[in-house]
């Protein structure tokens, strides 16, 4: 009995490690949804596509898809910066003209942008799954970092976790201790009042998009490495799951998005491992629907998205 218990627990621990890794990635993406929703109450459907762009750009820059192969580190930095810019561009082109329009119009536009970007990627990179060639990625990432019995933690997982934690801490610092962060919080409270107090709303929204999209881009690169697969529809699935995480944590709340990402990652890994692997995608949808139906404000939500 004890033996089987040990065996089970090592499987359990491995799943735990995988779940936390996945969860930290979801958290990185979810933060982007939550920040944008916080400031302009828009579900930015195209956020998943930014994440996909991050993965594709870093891949292309590393492998020389655009003609020049860059070193890994530089490629990552450029890709992230480009993602941040893409987010700002998205806001300026698609969402800003609709600030005063009904919310449904902005939501539909977001869906349209998501489809547009996804198909654009399909057009540029094709539908086949791309993988990072081993030669261009630092080799140590794939070596095990820690090993207890059967439980293995790879360097990549360590990197993902530390990156996620560092970025989250940084984000919290930005939101709570900088001018722009204070402006973001002010806009989230009351856009009109913030504008009257001299906050340049459009600029702050752009910063929000840049921050959220940058984090999304990082997540995209990390996932591209982790699963070693980059494909145009990757943003769609990850985006939905991250959105579910944001809803679970309470949309508009950054700590909520982090916690929600963690819970969802664990739920997906454990659900896939113990309940049914073919329904592991469904867990995110089910969690999302349940949270919306039972407690639309999520765990830490400020937005009571009830009618009236």
């Amino acid at each position: 009995m004890l033996n089987t218990l040990l065996e089970q627990s090592s499987l359990f621990l491995q799943q735990l490690v995988n779940g936390v890794t996945l969860g930290s990635i979801y958290a990185l993406i979810a933060v982007g949804y939550t920040m944008v929703y916080g400031v302009i109450q828009l579900i930015n459907f195209a956020h998943g596509e930014i994440y996909m762009l991050g993965a594709f750009l870093s891949f292309s820059l590393v492998t020389g898809f655009f003609g020049i192969g860059l070193p890994f580190g530089l490629a990552v930095v450029i890709a992230v910066i480009f993602c941040a810019l893409a987010g700002v561009f998205l806001d300026i082109v698609a969402y800003r003209p609709l600030r005063r329009a009904p919310r449904l119009a902005a939501l539909i536009t977001a869906i349209g942008m998501s489809i547009f970007l996804q198909n654009l990627a399909l057009l540029i990179w094709g539908a086949q799954i791309k993988s990072f060639p081993r030669a261009v990625v630092p080799a140590f990432l794939f070596a095990p970092a820690l090993q207890f019995g059967d439980v293995v933690i790879s360097w990549l997982q360590v990197v993902i976790l530390t990156t996620a934690v560092l970025l989250m801490v940084m984000l919290q610092l930005i939101v709570h201790y900088t001018r722009i962060g204070r402006a973001m919080r002010a806009i989230a409270q009351d856009k009109t009042a913030a504008a009257l107090m001299g906050v340049n709303v459009d600029r702050v929204v752009s910063y929000t998009f840049a921050l959220g999209s940058g984090l999304g881009g990082v997540a995209g690169i990390l996932v591209g490495l982790y699963y070693n697969a980059v494909y145009p529809t990757m943003g769609y699935f990850a985006g939905i799951k991250a959105f579910a995480a944001a809803v679970l944590g309470g949309i508009g709340s950054i700590p909520g998005a982090i916690l929600g990402g963690g819970i969802l990652g664990l739920a997906e890994v454990f659900g896939g491992g113990y309940i049914s692997s073919s329904y592991s995608d469904g867990i995110a949808y089910a969690v999302m629907i349940l949270v919306i139906l039972v407690k639309p404000t999520g765990l830490f939500g400020r937005f009571a998205r009830d009618k009236a």
């Binding site: 009995m1 004890l2 218990l5 089970q8 627990s9 359990f12 454990f270 113990y274 039972v294 009236a308």
Partner: protein, 396 residues
């Protein structure tokens, strides 16, 4: 004869309370409106007048108190003692529910009980169930139903587990202590507890604590029409369609009648168009039938709202600041309009800031300040009332 008839009380509130979190917006307000009367409700900004209106037709559910309209109880009194009892019971039940999921699992998947992950899943599901019990203390009508369903499931699970108890006699927890001696008493305690609670939650006193809340649309059908402080018209529909919507609660045409063009539905449609046009003419919008409601000037929008409320054939009309933003001419017209409505036998409860309108119209006035009723009486009495003057001008 008519004098006695008009003395009949149409609307009565009894200690109506509405709390938003820690803020009490309406505090123990008791007032009454008699049939055919024009009653005004005045008070400084933020005194809770609109909240009081919303409580009357249940757009917001009052915290406690009672509303009676046309001999029908809209909200029944919730006594604090009963509320406490329900709360305590639900807490006891939350404790009992810790036994619930083991029982369910025992029925559907007994082996799972000995797996680590299953125990984690189980405890989180139990937490979820306890969480679901929270609304009980807020007296949502459906929370009682939820509770009853839970308890029925408990009873079934307990019974099934008892029936299958023999299968578990060999099993022990992690090889340490036997399972069977815990099983049977546990199941019996749960069944007994669930049964007791099931009976208690059906006691009349407890049922009443959950109140009888009518939806706003039912209340409109009972004969309480209203307008809004910030005009709420269906702005992309025509004026006529807006008023036809007022006829909605007096008509019956359904899906099949409409699709198959049954003569009854067609007649009804014609009839409601005529009645709606009549209402529009009554408020002086007879020439604007097909204008989009949102395109009407401000004063006309206010009148259109009144026409829409009139089309519901109300016995009591709640007017929420109908003269707000009107110029003197328009508000004079409004006074005549309200008089004409009153003459048609409709009682009116009006919130207004414009003292000229109030003093001209009202038979009686109630004054609210900080959610409390501070004075009531005829316009002359109110004009002289010290408390009212203080509330409006500040204590001197």
């Amino acid at each position: 004869m008519t004098e006695r008839k008009s003395k009949k009380i149409l609307l009565q509130t009894h200690n109506l309370v509405k709390k938003f979190g820690g803020l009490t917006a309406v505090k123990d307000v008791s007032l009454d409106v008699k049939a055919g009367e024009i009653v005004a409700l005045i008070g400084p900004n933020g005194a809770g007048k609109t909240t009081f209106f919303n409580c009357l037709n249940q757009v917001t559910v009052p915290t406690s108190g009672a509303v009676t309209f046309a001999d029908q109880s809209l909200v029944s009194v919730v006594s604090p003692a009963t509320k406490l009892l329900v709360l305590r019971l639900s807490q006891v039940f939350a404790g009992l529910s810790l036994l619930w999921l083991p029982l369910v699992l025992g029925v559907v998947w007994p082996e799972a009980f000995f797996r680590l992950e299953a125990v984690i899943a189980l405890s989180s599901l139990t937490l979820f169930r306890i969480y679901l019990l929270r609304p009980l203390s807020r007296f949502r009508p459906w929370s009682r139903l939820l509770l009853i369903i839970f308890m029925l499931v408990d009873i079934v699970c307990g019974a099934v587990w008892l029936a299958r108890s023999a299968e578990f006699s060999e099993i022990s927890f992690f090889g340490l202590f036997p399972f069977y001696p815990l099983l049977v008493p546990g199941a019996i305690i749960l069944i007994a507890g669930a049964l007791t609670l099931l009976v208690m939650f059906n006691l009349p006193r407890v049922r009443e604590a959950f109140g009888r809340y009518l939806r706003a649309d039912t209340i409109t059908r009972l004969g309480m029409g209203r307008t809004f402080q910030n005009i709420r018209l269906f702005s992309s529909l025509s004026a006529l369609d807006n008023v036809k919507l007022g006829r909605h609660c007096r008509t019956k045409a359904n899906f099949f009648g409409t699709v198959f063009c049954l003569p009854q539905a067609r007649r009804e449609e014609q009839d409601s168009a005529e009645k709606a046009a009549e209402c529009l003419r009554f408020v002086g919008l007879g020439d604007q039938l097909l204008t989009r409601a949102g395109a009407l000037p401000y004063g006309d929008q206010r009148r259109l709202e009144i026409a829409r409320a009139l089309a519901t054939e109300p016995r009591l009309l709640l007017l929420d600041e109908p003269a707000a933003g009107m110029n003197p001419t328009e508000s004079r017209e409004l006074i005549t309009l309200v008089r004409r409505i009153s003459r048609a036998g409709i009682a009116i409860l009006i919130i207004e800031h414009d003292m000229k309108v109030i003093m001209n119209l009202a038979d009686r006035i109630f004054v609210l300040d900080h959610g409390e009723l501070i004075a009531s009486g005829t316009p002359e009495a109110i004009r002289k009332d010290k408390k009212v003057i203080e509330a409006y001008l500040g204590a001197q």
